[in-house]
């Protein structure tokens, strides 16, 4: 157990950038340089924690003792680091992409955008590094609020109603369900610290434990479990970089990560197993997977289809965790990373298409492969990753998930997994097919390559490449996931 201020610095790195961003509002180049610098520092700080954690240690920092048993404290363990690594590395990519996207579309209020982006990142890392439920809740709410201005960036009627929906689900669920659940937990146990063996064991009645679990699962609505999912498609009105980072990586993953923490840190595998609650959650997740995939099939808006896809993919993670088998959990944790890289690619591609052509719907994109070959190539790789086909990272996580199903002895869930993968393929591959193999609908597209600003299409290529790389070299994510799971199962 190490005490170090590094986790705090990692959290604050992007927050500290905010004043500079505001100060430099008149000079966009300097402003975005600050963003980059902060992102770089953040990644370095997070990465610097890697050796210690890989060595089996944990890094701790207590900020303030606000509540007895639940201080404002940060602790870096393998799960957290995995998540933080994903988010902070993707921030750099997204920042670059944002610049391309925002400048390409000449969006208004860019300063505000970058500010809240930075705040949101801080909150994400905060959630990743939280040492206890309370700290996590704090950053969770901070993230909800910081993303609101991003979601409603366009400040028009549609953004308004989406923002309303977003807040209603996210804040409503967290205040009405997660907060009381947390307080009840605290009331019963006197602590909120995550512990590998759980803190609830023996403190609550089985019924109570079940109720609490569902309060948590639905309370952290960012995880997008049906029926608290509908904010996610609505939030797609946001500028694409926001959708990309926040709704493929930060926000939704924070939701899932929170559930991960609840399952591993608060309940503990043994308690859940003993009460047989894991399977219940797993089936809820399975239901979500199938339903979301089916809905995604019927969507024409590219971003909306991606959004429903995200809902389904998130539930993979929840499913993996809920299996409570070592392989399944490893898969679930790994899927956080793998899906992030895949999905962000897809979102960025969608954004790039929008920047270059102004098209949003799939039906309008027939033949776009001629126009934007690189973008669509990245899109293909991303799709493969999300579907879970080699040679992409997505395959590895899905593999582990499948193994986990077997390990948990539930063939039915395995079937669900496979069916849903088929559905994934069914809603992604036609897009690629349409883009490359159908004649362009617009005459201008036939002229040849024109991919718009480089800042918009290079980042997806980078992340797509990452997806590919992760298939061959899934370290350090795999290692971290395995370590974390090993700790859980008393390894």
């Amino acid at each position: 157990m190490l005490h170090s201020i590094t986790p705090l610095l990692a959290v604050l790195a992007s927050l500290a950038a905010v004043p500079f961003i505001i100060l430099l509002k008149g000079r966009p180049n300097a402003r975005e340089a600050v963003t980059f610098i902060a992102a770089g520092i953040k990644l370095i700080l997070v990465a610097s924690l890697l050796p210690a954690v890989l060595a089996g240690g944990e890094v701790e920092f207590t900020l303030a003792k606000v509540l007895p048993g639940a201080p404002l404290a940060l602790r870096v363990d393998a799960f957290g680091l995995l998540f933080a690594l994903v988010s902070s590395s993707l921030w750099i990519v997204t920042s670059a992409y944002s610049i391309g996207y925002m400048r390409g579309l000449d969006e208004h209020s860019q300063t505000r955008y970058f500010c809240f982006f930075a705040v949101a990142l801080s909150a994400t890392i905060g959630v990743a590094f939280s040492a206890n439920l309370f700290t996590m809740y704090l950053f969770y709410e901070m993230l909800s609020l910081a993303t609101y201005p991003l979601v409603t960036h366009h400040q028009d009627a549609e953004a308004r109603s989406s923002g309303r929906k977003y807040l209603f689900y996210i804040m409503g669920a967290s205040i009405a369900l997660a907060l009381p659940a947390m307080i009840i937990t605290y009331q019963q146990t006197g602590t909120l610290a995550f512990s590998p063996t759980g803190i609830l064991a023996g403190k609550v009645s089985p019924v109570m434990a079940g109720v609490l679990l569902f309060m948590f699962v639905f309370g952290f609505a960012k995880a997008g479990i049906i029926p608290v999912h509908s904010w996610l498609p609505a939030a797609m009105v946001a500028p694409t970089p926001v959708s990309a980072l926040l709704h493929a990586v930060a926000v939704v993953k924070v939701g899932v990560f929170s559930i991960l923490r609840i399952i591993t840190g608060i309940y503990g595998v043994d308690l859940l197993k003993g009460l047989d609650l894991g399977m219940a959650v797993a089936w809820v997740a399975a239901f979500t997977i199938i339903v979301a995939s089916l809905i995604a099939l019927s969507q024409d808006g590219l971003k909306r289809r991606l959004a429903f896809s995200t809902i389904g993919q998130l539930s993979y993670i929840v499913l993996g965790l809920a299996l409570l088998s070592p392989k399944g959990m490893t898969g679930g944790a790994l899927h956080i990373a793998m899906h992030a890289f895949g999905k962000i690619t897809l979102f960025m591609c969608a954004g790039a298409i929008f920047v270059a052509t102004g098209k949003k719907n799939i039906s309008q994109m027939t033949g776009i492969g001629k126009r934007m070959p690189w973008t669509m190539a990245a899109f293909l790789v991303g799709s493969l990753s999300v579907i879970g086909l080699p040679p992409t990272g997505g395959f590895i996580s899905k593999w582990y998930l499948a193994l986990g199903c077997l390990q948990a002895g539930s063939v039915a869930l395995l079937v669900v997994l496979l069916v849903s993968s088929l559905l994934n393929a069914a809603y992604f591959l036609p897009i690629v097919y349409r883009a490359y193999f159908k004649p362009p609908v617009e005459a201008a597209w036939a002229e040849g390559r024109n991919e718009g600003p480089a800042a918009a299409w290079v980042p997806p290529l980078v992340t797509a490449a990452c997806s590919l790389v992760l298939f061959f070299y899934p370290q350090p994510f795999l290692r971290l996931a395995q370590m974390a799971v090993a700790q859980l199962f008393g390894g």
Binding site: K65, V66, H108, L138, E141, L167, G172, A176
Partner: protein, 504 residues
Amino acid sequence: MSEQYPALIVITPLLAALLVSAAGWLRPRLCFPLALAGLGAAAAAATGLLVQVLATGPVTYRLGGWEPPWGIAYYVDNLNAVVAALVAWVALFNLVASYRAVMTDYPEKIGPYYTLYVLAVTGMLGMVVTGDAFNLYVLLEITSLTGYALIGLGGGRAPLASLNYLFLGTIGASFYLLGVGYLYIVTGSLNMADLAKLLTPLYGSLALLAAFAITLVGLWMKMAFFPLHAWLPNAYGFAPAPTASLLAPLMTKVMVYVMIRIMISVFTVEFVLQEVLVGQLVVWLAVAAMVAGALFALGQRDLKRMLAYIVVAEVGYMVGGAWLGNRLGMTGAVLHLINDAVMTFCVFLAAGCIYQKTRGTSFEDLRGLFKKMPWTMAALAAGAMAIIGVPPTGGFFSKWYLIRGGLEAGHWGFVGALLFSSLINVVLFFRVFEIAFFEPSGGDDSHGGHGGHEEHGGAVALAEAPLSMLLPLMAAALGLIALGLATGPLVQKLILPIIPAGLG
């Protein structure tokens, strides 16, 4: 000098008020500096007192040098000290913020305005530190009177609202006085500590119960507890902005403090818990207050009135917490008292800033404010977060303790109402933010003054409130977060020592 802190805390503002009044007749220019000096000294004394109390334990101060049951005595423990410091500092910050508003709105009446302002603070500080039941009444009246005048100064409906406040406030204060009379008739004493001793053998007496009931009803009227809240929304909604941001945060809080003081120091918790069988009923009333306050607030189309109804709900939090009958609830109530003062101050001051620029606080006036007044709106957002109960602002932690108190008492209604009212608060504030964020500022209508609203890209002329208002506002917003982070020590060092052992 340090043994004189309790006296200084009250007499410096009193003397300052008199000097301000004199200056108002002779040299109006001097009013503000004098008031600032007086309140500054009071704030310093209050802080000194807090430090002293924390270091050496409760302080007793004998006014006129007479022994307590015969003379008037101050009794200052952690609770008083912290509330006094809170009152003094909030008042000081608000004073700074009020400078421009008073200058623009009442340039001819600076002297009387600040006189009453400082007197109101004097009264509140006195109420907080006094240990004599009757002295409290006098100070209560001084605060109320200044409050009536300061509220009645506003235009439009303000005088009527103020008169209604005066009626209900007088009934409330008189009920309190009557309750003290009942205590006096059965004991013959007025000193709180002495009363607590003398009352013990009388538990079960009908007169005592009636005294308790009347006192409480009186105080509830003054603090606008739910069925008796009718005066508050209009009074605070129509009051001049600097007045609203002085009275709304402090007046109700001080009254809640008095209620807690009466409950734990005069009647003792044993009496409250065992003899008074309506504890549950009071908590249900608090539940009703929270729900009703929230729902009424939903119906408002004016920021200040909406905030006023939120104050009604907040009073419900505190009263309910205090009456839950356990340590956690009481801790939550006291903690919320502290936090609520700061957060209400923050939001009302933000409303004042908005009024200063737009000359109105109805929802139509808020359009496009995020562009025009980003800092003010940021502070308003911080205050809103605290009221909603988002960590790490202080509001979260007090709600935390309150909910825990409710859970421990098994009072699910209370917990539910707390959560419900938080949710409504989300709705309330985001409705405001939506208007300020989405709707373009009305450049075409008369009171904008800052024309040229560009839909996208362009910069709308910044029309931020003056710095003298903005700095206190920022201080309040940061104070909210600081309070949240300091919750641990606050509870451990300040609040827990004063929670009587009798509470379960």
